[in-house]
Symmetry: C2
DNA sequence: CGCGAGCTTGATGCCGATCAATGCATGTGG
DNA sequence: CCACATGCATTGATCGGCATCAAGCTCGCG
């Protein structure tokens, strides 16, 4: 009556322990769906030599840990959790057997979330450099591409934190700081810019109605944080915005 | 005073038009940061032969379109937008010059979002099969890995839609249906299962407080949609859950 | 058996949605 | 050049859903 036993193959545990391979893994269809040749599968097996047990409540990895491996859940159950600098928590996903953990780490080679076991669990460790080598993907261009994809995943974690934990003004502050930083990276002013999108589109991104976005702009203007004229924005007080978001306390712009 | 001119290099437009290359692109540091060899850069140039203009309001691609290329924004501004079956909209991001569009399409070879230009824009087209070939990544294993990453991006879009547009009971319904479907894919019952996480963790994932999660469970039970006993869940009325989420109207379980 | 973590349920308050009116910029046709 | 339409933004009034605060309750576990 327990639909998720912590170890699915405990019945044949001896054989499983001695020579479990990707080719014979009963999670294979989930973890490595069709189209992968037997040859590649063999190679994958040479990677996934090591297993690791993680006890309930323990972390497989933590935000800030260096990244070197991906992990496939073999048995058990995990959550991934993003914690912002001011202590807000957002669970970004739950992972069950056959699902992958650690993609967030590829971008910067440092993990950005905690992966915590919700019950005693076991994972297959997939060393990432080996994976790239075997995939015939050991090219700087390829690596770059992987990082871009991982960065997108990390970005979306940040949006989830915003949508899950922030109030209207905090969301708008985070949005403006993000925009400002990306414009600066492109050689434009970080403090003065033109919004290319409507209030309604900002609202749709931030999970708010356009009236709420408009009111937040007005309030920022009243408080001397922004100058707002239609789509023209000037940021007067970066620190006020940062305090709202709960990031980068103390750093002057 | 306009910090984001729609075309940055209109001053040297003749040369830019005739032989713009990745190697000379003024967005290169954003689009292809260091570590990529001159040789790879040349190869990249052979890919990115075609440009495409997209007028304000037009779509670069739409959800449902077949995927074959990624796009780098060269000038202008885009939004990506996910629309659920019952018409909810969630903007999943805004893209400015040097940023990439289309990663959502790798997973299933069909785009899952609309990419709409917020102003007259230009993109560089990067045919994906060519990219994989040049990256020395034309291996089934590698392709699979790319799809896994893309699938994660698409999943997170779904979570953003949930967090941005749904009310408490709708969120919980979506969560339960998702869990149910993943358990079924692993050979477990879709209608009867044990939650491995606490109400608080569910709440943190769904952007709700634990009391709200608990109340939603109670209400589902009152309405005969679920049987709830601590962490043991039995789904009695799938269609009721689907109706809340606004997905899959009419399909029987 | 008794403790404590996790859950349920109730009462109240607040934030943001909703509904509604007005303002303002842009564009179009007379 | 003005009259008018249209899309977008602002602001106010009211409402509702969820957070918050506060008890109790249940179950698993030492």
């Amino acid at each position: 009556m327990n639909p998720i036993p912590s170890s699915r193959d405990s019945g044949s545990s001896l054989q499983a322990r001695l020579k479990a391979t990707c080719a014979t893994c009963n999670l294979r269809e989930l973890c490595v769906p069709g189209g992968v040749s037997p040859h590649d599968l063999d190679q994958l097996d040479t990677l996934v030599a090591t297993r690791r047990r993680v006890r309930r409540g323990e972390a497989l990895f933590r935000a800030g840990d260096g990244f070197d491996s991906l992990y496939a859940v073999r048995s058990g159950f995990f959550k991934t959790r993003l914690t912002s600098e001011d202590g807000r928590d957002q669970v970004t996903g739950f992972q069950m057997p056959g699902e992958l953990l650690g993609l967030d780490g590829i971008a910067t080679e440092v993990h950005s979330v905690d992966a915590v076991a919700l019950q005693d669990s076991e994972v297959c460790t997939i060393p990432f450099t080996d994976l790239e080598r075997i995939s015939a993907a050991f090219s700087p261009l390829q690596r770059h591409f992987h990082k871009v994809m991982s960065r997108e995943i990390v970005r979306e974690h940040g949006v989830m934190l915003l949508l899950g934990t922030m109030r209207a003004e905090e969301r708008l502050a985070a949005f403006l700081l993000n925009l400002s930083q990306r414009l600066r990276a492109r050689g434009y002013s970080a403090s003065e810019f033109v919004l290319r999108m409507t209030r309604e589109e900002i609202g749709s991104f931030l999970g708010l109605k356009l009236e709420t976005v408009s009111r937040a702009f007005s309030r920022f203007q009243e408080d001397g944080v922004l100058e707002v004229s239609n789509k023209n924005i000037r940021i007067l007080d970066f620190q006020a915005l940062r305090n709202l978001v709960g990031v980068d306390r103390g750093g002057g712009q």
